[in-house]
Subunit: 211 residues, 2 copies
């Protein structure tokens, strides 16, 4: 750590706002790197370079690479909530809300300015790596799945979907379609996949509609 950074850190200890600000700019830079190279692409080194700090300066804010990765997952979860989940809550309970959740999610990973979904990419990166990052990712993904599950249950309760619908299978089906769109759009560069997925979701939900 340079003398300047050491001084900055001492000042941050008496000025917590400044410290929180630095921490935020580190997380911001880490989010940008991870959306390109994955959570595994994050190193204290490349973040330090991005925020123009020394490695030990970054370490002073996050004790380890894993803790920083966890902070990035938490921040992503917050943004995902603001961008995808909260707007859906403005729609009426049942199919309108469920549809909005799925549509806005799958749209996120398509188009020219598409970004990788941390929930989807992280699942592949960390499926074989036990630890605090995987745990945080699983927690976030399970939260999101619970929201979709609730959307399905509310659609049944509202009489929009048949009572006989198998909630877990429909959840699996919708989640798989989102994985498919992420795959076909980002890896196969297939511009038609969003339209195909939307057509398919419409067909699936129609087939489950109560008469």
């Amino acid at each position: 750590m340079s003398i300047q950074e050491s001084r900055d850190l001492q000042r941050e200890l008496v000025e917590p706002k400044k410290g929180a600000q630095t921490k935020r700019s580190i997380i911001e830079a880490a989010l940008t790197i991870a959306s390109k190279s994955g959570l595994e692409g994050l190193t204290i080194g490349n973040i330090a370079e991005a925020v123009k700090m020394s490695k030990s300066g970054v370490f002073a804010h996050f004790g380890s690479r894993e803790e920083l990765q966890v902070a990035v997952v938490r921040e992503y979860y917050q943004r995902f909530q603001d961008l995808i989940f909260s707007p859906a809550l403005l729609k009426p309970k049942g199919l309108p809300r469920l549809n909005q959740m799925i549509q806005s999610w799958i749209k996120m990973s398509t188009g020219d300015d598409s970004s990788s979904c941390f929930f989807i990419a992280g699942a592949v990166e960390f499926d074989d790596q036990p630890g605090i990052v995987r745990d945080e990712l699983v927690r976030s993904v399970e939260d999101w799945r619970s929201a979709i599950r609730r959307g399905i249950q509310e659609s049944i309760a509202a009489g929009h979907l048949k009572k006989s619908v198998n909630v877990e299978i429909l959840l699996f089906q919708l989640y798989s379609i989102a994985l498919g769109v992420h795959h076909d759009s980002r890896f196969l560069d297939n511009p038609k996949c969003l339209a195909n997925a939307n057509k398919l979701i419409k067909e699936i939900l129609s087939s489950y509609k109560s008469n």
Copy 2:
């Protein structure tokens, strides 16, 4: 490179069989590492350690890390063909063959001794990384998708599935289910996902059956 390795390499130049053998054992070790840590987890360093060679010894067989990754993708493709695709060809054309292809593929990523599918994991690892590894992966995945597409078309031609089936949408649907099983089994440790996926595939194909 040690004197011993330099001698070995010189001998391999006059004994091509020995050289091919070393190359194979490098690829073998790389496959084991990549099935745990992904293609991105491969470094010349960790492979050299696994095969007890120096880094320059490994470099003498593969000019770069990317070339080694490409060789690993090719080897995986070969094994995938032997394990998943070729046995399906023994089944009659149409639904029996299509079913066999999908069933054996999704079974691969479940169970205690499950291994990550390079086609699925690689797609996420390399979707944002242009280059020869991504190109090789896309080629392999497109080959496999062509085989599934052919399976659907043959099912229609054999009268097992309706003529009105949208081939691309059914391909998207089946491929997405495989992504879903890989996700739920490996990341969420959900033991029920294979049974749910099988039930779903049966339902989907039934709904598309010609009367």
